[in-house]
Symmetry: C2
Subunit: 138 residues, 2 copies
Amino acid sequence: MRKDSRLSRMLHVLVHLHQLQQAVTSDQLALMLHTNPVVVRRTMSLLREQGYVSAVKGHGGGWTLAKPLHEITLLDIHRSLSESSLFTIGLTDEHNNCPIEKAVNLAIDDVLQEAETLVLQRFGEVTLDKLAAGYIPR
Amino acid sequence: MRKDSRLSRMLHVLVHLHQLQQAVTSDQLALMLHTNPVVVRRTMSLLREQGYVSAVKGHGGGWTLAKPLHEITLLDIHRSLSESSLFTIGLTDEHNNCPIEKAVNLAIDDVLQEAETLVLQRFGEVTLDKLAAGYIPR
DNA sequence: CCTTAAGAAACATCATAAGTTACATAAAAA
DNA sequence: TTTTTATGTAACTTATGATGTTTCTTAAGG
């Protein structure tokens, strides 16, 4: 299944922005991420809309952090990037009146909800300054 | 992100197989799932390889349960269907010597591992006879 | 031998993150 | 003012893997 690596990429970018302490262009970030500047703008613009970075056009322009790392969590970035489900598992909804399908979906969804809650909570506990310092696993 | 609905579909099929108590053809299952008999064979054959169902060719043939529902868990079926990750989030591995990328991946993976462990454990606790009886959420 | 069914190979479809092209817009420098 | 540098954005292409389809083979009962 295709993976969404935007969270990983953007976290990487944000910590680098913090360390460089100056505006970095989309072209520079694209080189860093082995990708395209338009992909960088597209993804970074989601973070700009939520106030985590700002962009300046023209000479000397580029991207800078709009908040200190310790005020940004993994959850903040995750939420900025995606409204879609965390899981590759999907439910079917083709038999509105079938009690078996209902029970199956309930059982799967029950577990996935619990796991999603856990992931979001953990993501909310990790601020980006912890990544800059070299993350220590639990 | 495209979802994998095979788990949901196969659980649905297995509980129906139990209730019908007779061989059901791929064509019948395809009608039930609003899909194609070849898709049914392809997916069911993964369960056959693990000994959860058996298939008989020819007249009166079709698919039957090879184990009682109470001896099959959601985890069994999930494992039979997929070796790939549960999550739509992927990590990047483009900068072998970048400590920031390492820290980012470690932080994300740490959380996802914990969540995956939880999901697999919960899936292992749910036997299919509970679905047949009408699943009651935790 | 005919019919019914699974097994299997080869190919098409679909959705979406990622990648690309092209052009508009804004700001600083020449 | 003109040029250069940068983001903003629309439109399109590509890659990937579950899903869907076609076609043929194999096996079993009648």
